[in-house]
Symmetry: none
Subunit: 500 residues, 2 copies
Amino acid sequence: MNQFKYEDYKALMHKIKDLEYAAAVLHWDMETYMPTKGIRFRSQQLATLQALAHELYTAESTGILLKELVNDKALDELQRVNVQLSLEDYEKATKLPNDFVKESSLIRTEAFQAWLKAKEANDYSIFRPALTKMVENKKQEAALLGSNGHVYNALLDQYEKGAEVEKLDLLFKDVREKLVTFVKELKEKGQSSPSHFLNHVFPKDQQWSLGLELLKQMGYDFEAGRQDISAHPFTTNFSPEDVRVTTRIDEKELMSMIGSCIHEGGHALYEQGLATEQYGLPLGSATSLGIHESQSRLWENNVALGLPYWKANFALLQKTFPAQLSGINVQSFYKSINQVSPNFIRIEADELHYHLHVLIRYELEKGLIEGSISTDNLNEIWNQKYRDYMGVEVPDDNRGVLQDIHWSQGLMGYFPTYSLGSFYAAQFFAQAMKEIPNLILEIEQGNMKPLLDWLREKIHRQGRRYTSEELCTQICGEGLNLKYFMDYARRKYSEIYEVF
Amino acid sequence: MNQFKYEDYKALMHKIKDLEYAAAVLHWDMETYMPTKGIRFRSQQLATLQALAHELYTAESTGILLKELVNDKALDELQRVNVQLSLEDYEKATKLPNDFVKESSLIRTEAFQAWLKAKEANDYSIFRPALTKMVENKKQEAALLGSNGHVYNALLDQYEKGAEVEKLDLLFKDVREKLVTFVKELKEKGQSSPSHFLNHVFPKDQQWSLGLELLKQMGYDFEAGRQDISAHPFTTNFSPEDVRVTTRIDEKELMSMIGSCIHEGGHALYEQGLATEQYGLPLGSATSLGIHESQSRLWENNVALGLPYWKANFALLQKTFPAQLSGINVQSFYKSINQVSPNFIRIEADELHYHLHVLIRYELEKGLIEGSISTDNLNEIWNQKYRDYMGVEVPDDNRGVLQDIHWSQGLMGYFPTYSLGSFYAAQFFAQAMKEIPNLILEIEQGNMKPLLDWLREKIHRQGRRYTSEELCTQICGEGLNLKYFMDYARRKYSEIYEVF
């Protein structure tokens, strides 16, 4: 009888996930292959799929089923975890009335349109009214969701369960003090290694092949995925057995292609590593955005911006681009791809300054949601923070407050997960070095399997069994600790910049 | 109040169509880009979408709404046609229980996989178990649908409203007698014009570009569609503004690529010509497979296998393949692409023998469904019929019973529409020549617009307003008449084979 009810629950979750994954296929197609005129009905089709999935999830009958099951002593431990998490999701989802969900969708559409127009005119004031509405909407959402402590917590919790202003304030204070000091030290006392050869032209076809080669080496399964081109790189998945990545290729930006391939590859490995038998259930899903980002960052930064990785791959790189790399050796290449300098564009930032970009967005979002910052002159506040934290002068709104798509999509509370991801990544990588015999040597030989196996076991296979913090404690014996990131940064960049 | 109900009806139909089109996107992706391991969950996702669409369509509330609306005197004529046709669809659809629909979807997916494996091994016995299951499923379907007369009528009616064994038996008898006699006459008394130059190698990239060029010339809108590669060419659509075609390219088969591009292009023009304001409604849908096929055949055969078409395009062909076509003129090219000879592959058949291929499939399907033929030795029965009707020896299963995808997709009752399509096409083209001033001259100049405009007005814009036979009568003043096809065939091939 109980197993029967659990089967009902599974069937329902499968149905909902099938709809969500179908929407993901439509979205993938929209970003890769859809002809221009397809957009009108595609938008309608996406809205229909998403509304149906939401209706199914928030149906009263779903709540009844989950509440019955959650108290069922006959479930085994994994089954109970699934049901508990689904009930949590249900309770969150039903806190937002349908009218509010619809209204939010309209506000997002409007905000996105306004953002596009503002970008075209390079003028924040065009986006301001829509952003003001969006902030109001997000305040309402936070109120409906409810939270202990700071009002912004409700939004943070949607992307990172357990993330709270009270903790993040401390973390980012630490980041600011330690990272700003360190970056300043590098700038003042360090030796930079300019990288003129990166200004060469790297033809698209060769970049494409190289990207595929590097993905294969990581362990990305091309029988369970594929890479395509899109305007903005992304990873999407339709099951653990169909996980797709996209990249973009600029002939003058070799490292941008490599970084994006490996970053998306890291996300994709997480999804390919999820348990297929838990399809559609919490234990078959990634635990949080922060942990997801830890997987992309670990590969992108800790692995692929490291010297061992290039000891393994520099020969391939030279073979692919013999003219462009003539006279460069692996040491100088490694140094040149690890130059740090302040800039005003987040997605072009190096792995140290990146967190100052996130810090600024965190402070602004928190201020907007708690009401201490107004949208009136947000562009000026933005620019002032860039002056204060990085010493750069933002030249215009497009390279300032308008640069990210997130706010126009209602994604508030999302940015901090980018930094959390990097910090978790550094901590996980430190632990992996302790546990995997000769990890660095393996990487130097292009053998990524020991690392991937470790990530599979420790993280991917766990699904949503643990929160980010629980998972981190489980793996490392302690929760998130910035020390690991700072140790990594100091060791690596002191050497590169010859600051001892 | 009535308009309000009609709006409810429209919203419901949109929702259903959104689900069906989403399934079409998933299916397109499966045939073009999906990685191999994606199949397992993709099948499940497709089944879920199709089941949901079916559930919505067959819900009791849908029936109540349609029955209320159909008697509503306040609807205008077009609205009434929509509601009447939807009610007919509803009544047909409610004959199939949800569980049956879901099971059928799984059987299809399984059969498709088995067919792929069988093709790989060139071994019918690998496909047999899945085909046996499929035939049982189709018998059940026919029984559930019910029919007057022959049991196979229930399946025929799904693709071609009004098609019946009792009529098709007569038509195919006529086809066999007249066509076989004529083909024999050509063989015995005619002059063949061998086409050795077609055995050259035509590189894939140039073939691809040529195909795109020819599609563009027909009026195919690449902003509302795209072409990709797949194992078996097909057309699919996700709205009239996103209609996709696929082709395949064999370097030794130039005419196969050209034929498939133009054939699929003809289908696609029909879909791109449907009324966008009738999205999801019967008036925004194609009327039948026979009429759909008439559009692909009209372009493929009556237009693109004609001398005027090649007067327009021979220069482009020569420019694309100068070496391969050296010493060939448009007359000899025209003759060589219109050589008729019996062969065992349907999709490589000339436009005369083609109908003998369809005849064989028609007889086999009818036999399988009525139970007079078993799947046990279907490959042998297949081969015997090719001996009997065409005097050819089928060399293996891949070039015999495994050659078509249809049965693996549950498409039984479908093949006859191919012949109906050709016969309607000949009749429509004869009418177009009467009505469009200088049609042949326009085609000779590469101007396809007058023909497309005529097809748009007479056929595409009509949606499902008329059945095939009504539409034919509306356009030509009489129902389907094989005379037009035979006249076309006799006139064309008597000249090519110099038989007078």
